[in-house]
Assembly symmetry: D2
């Protein structure tokens, strides 16, 4: 993402990461291409906040976001002002998004949540309380993603992403169970997938990302489940969805099972780093 | 189906039903349109088998198929000969399909399974052991359905249909849980559905048959869940799928839950005859 | 069971098995103990029926029962008369029990279903339409089992057994999940089990058959999950329960999941023949 | 609990509640019994901390505990000293227990978690880092509960309670499904329960709290599911268990379903305040 932002944006780039090697590698890579545009290394989040007006963060989980934005002594909150626009592309608990955004707005700055989805062609699911905020962020996000969607007010990006990913987890397991069942009953997997894809069982997990090896080329299932979106990430996103559902008194029976199965896979030897379509292999290996 | 067959086919029609009133109503309806083509009423299955070379059956469940084809004194098996083609469009246990087909073939006749799927535009999922059998049946099925798909050998029609409908049940519950979750978290349902439909959560249950009222017009969810494919039928199809999975040692965890939920709905006051997308209302009513 | 019957009963014993080696081994074993009581080998089921008035069968599944009782040319039904009492100790579909019993009674003989449960101390769960039938069977069953329980009319033995075993499967998975959770959260397993066993989580799967190795001695979990009641048998019994539930419109959500998990284990390398408490190891292995 | 503590303890009692009416009612009740022992009303938590050396709290959920102990301006933490013993009997997230305890210990005071379980006869499940702490708390807890169990170090009380209650939820649903299945298959409920209770399906939910009306007298199922432990509380406890499991990478498939079902019931009209054994009625009502 930073690569694309650097290449496509006219603005100067200030970068920060706890991993200094990653920063140096990034700079080395781009300076070796003789680009004239400078890359500044910040030493702390607060330095980023003081030097940049548009700030994009991408962090592993809710506690990191709280720390980098609010809790650390050198956190972003202490460096922002009324010109700052803060775009958080982490996938986190929507309650944390709301809590953090509130503090940002209290400082006169603007906040946006923009978690990212997809693989080759990234989609940004954006929560912004005004169209103005959204439009201000859009050019930057467009350098990094193909689709930039305004999902609603603050937190709506997070909500939309966990909704989508919970549904994705359910449909993927559904397709895996279905393909496995059909194949065990003697069906040719390509033919079965083709029929499902023109019938009411049709879904992205079947027609664009089929988990049965050999049905589609160029998807993880045909490359030993390498690449793609791994089981640990799916376990994390479905956990966020189930937690949000519990808070909202929304029943998610299949969602809860999907979460447990991805939690199980993400802790099973040989599956931790495999693409989430490897649920097909797991079902299939167990059934010999 | 019989209406379309009568209207579009050049062949004479011989009809049989245990419900005599249905037969008379059918005849009255078509004679009143001054059609010249006669409609013959058979008194027994065996009479149909003796008078017709192409025989199409559509029966509620496995025991009826066994009775009408094999076990009754006046069953089809006693009237067929080497010219007969028997097309069973019932959705039943694929083991019964294989058992019945075997007996038909022993008599020198040909058998095809062709369960039907879909609502306005019917799809026939056809199991036929030869392409010749398939081609012989196709013209008749084309009078009744839009898509006629050759899924494989005998029983493959049944297998494909239960695979599709198990996946459909899972995706529908998944969409219902997801839409309910999103709405409870404050999302606009139409906007959420639109985003899902262009994201990896995309599926037929969301983009063509969304269970949340008001998202799509002209689907059961926007018509008080009337019409469509009711919960009892979905309970039946998922039960066939789970039974087949148990026989085949194929694990179907979400499939088994989907089956229990549709069994529950099909026995819940107010839901027995509602479309299977009413799982959304059920989740939603419980969550007030 | 036959050993105990031979040792404790005064009646002569006529035995039959499709496995002739098993018969010879049985006879050799008992003749070598210099017992005076003769052991007769029957060549067919019908021969058993002709020579014995009290007949006890123990068969793997419903199809075998149908074959041995009704369908084979030399089946029991052709040899029985009004003096015959037929006791089926197989665990099978209760509908088959009822179908077979009906034919037996039509011949003037008496039928009882008496599936067996437990390990060291067997329990017979008896379905008998009259107390007289029950009392006639009881002395024979008492030679083989410790508890002989009259559960109700014909089929009630089967129903009670599948009810008990479905509940057993659920409680066992529940205990396995709970012990695994507690241990991962740092609890000492013995202490946790002791507290559960005096609290409202108390159950046989915890206090008498705990699945966590080392909590109880002399149970399968402390002997590498050898012996006991294997996953394949539990998969079979829960499948009978779920099928019966589907026929009866009884919702069994946890039952259906338990069935899928035992089906999965019974097809997972290394678990097929392990005791059903090995679900603990399966959960635990996956979670490293 | 406060009633028993007041009656049985020799120590003076200082009470605090946000609900002033409750405080006055309590005092009125006891003063009217002409007891000589004074009841002091504190105006804030900090006042309790200053005046009492042994402090017992019982709060609805994690946020309240954080507020009362740490976050409020007048919170307990600001009033305690090295003589203070803080006993939290709330059922909350064990991570919060650990966080709060740590701050208490940093102040030189001692902390204990002692969530309570059961109805008529309360059990305190105690987490205490030393036996001395446990013994110091035990006399006070003994005035309120029958069983005082030392479960391990700090947080062990919470862990034990959520483990027990998750297992309880699973066994209760299991018993409800089983009794419902048996009754629908024609079994007498009392007879079925009696057999289960002496077989391997035996559990507290069946032998001491059977959810089928009429099987046991004097339990909620025989009193229109009034009293007992309501669905909302069970939904809360199972949610704590599933969250802890997710944090600990422990798979809880039946636990997650149980949690969803109790969440569903706790939001279903007519079930919110019913005892958690009302899952039987819910299954049964749906199945007519």
């Amino acid at each position: 993402m930073a690569n694309n932002l650097y290449k496509k944006s006219d603005s100067p780039l200030i970068i920060y990461d706890v991993n200094k090697t990653a920063l140096e590698k990034f700079t080395f890579l781009h300076e070796s291409t003789l680009s004239k545009k400078p890359i500044l290394h910040a030493q702390t989040p607060i330095e980023v906040a003081r030097k940049a007006s548009t700030i994009i963060t991408m962090l592993p989980a809710s506690p990191h976001v709280k720390r980098v934005y609010l809790e650390a002594q050198d956190s972003l909150i202490h460096g922002i002002d009324e010109n700052s626009l803060l775009i958080d592309s982490s996938t986190i608990d929507q309650n944390v998004t709301k809590e953090v955004s509130k503090k940002i707005i209290e400082k006169g700055a603007r906040a946006i949540d923009a978690p990212v989805s997809g693989a080759a062609n990234l989609t940004f699911m954006v929560g912004a309380s005004t169209l103005e905020d959204f439009n201000r962020a859009k050019p930057y996000l467009s350098h990094m993603g193909k689709n930039i969607i305004h999902c609603g007010g603050l937190g709506a990006g997070q909500i939309t992403k966990i909704c989508n990913n919970m549904l994705l987890a359910i449909t993927m397991i559904g397709v895996a169970e279905t393909m496995n069942l059909g194949v065990k009953l003697g069906m040719d997997p390509k033919l079965l997938a083709n029929i499902l894809n023109t019938s009411s069982g049709r879904c992205w997990s079947s027609d664009s990302y089929n988990p049965c090896p050999g049905v589609l080329s160029n998807v993880p299932s045909s490359k030993n489940y390498e690449g793609g979106f791994n089981n640990k990430l799916m376990a994390k996103d479905t956990k966020l969805a189930v937690n949000a559902a519990n808070d909202a008194n929304a029943t998610v029976i299949l969602g809860a099972i999907a979460q447990q199965l991805y939690s199980l896979l993400s802790n099973t030897v040989g599956y931790e780093k495999k693409d989430f379509s490897s649920i097909y292999r797991w079902l299939n290996e167990s059934n010999n």
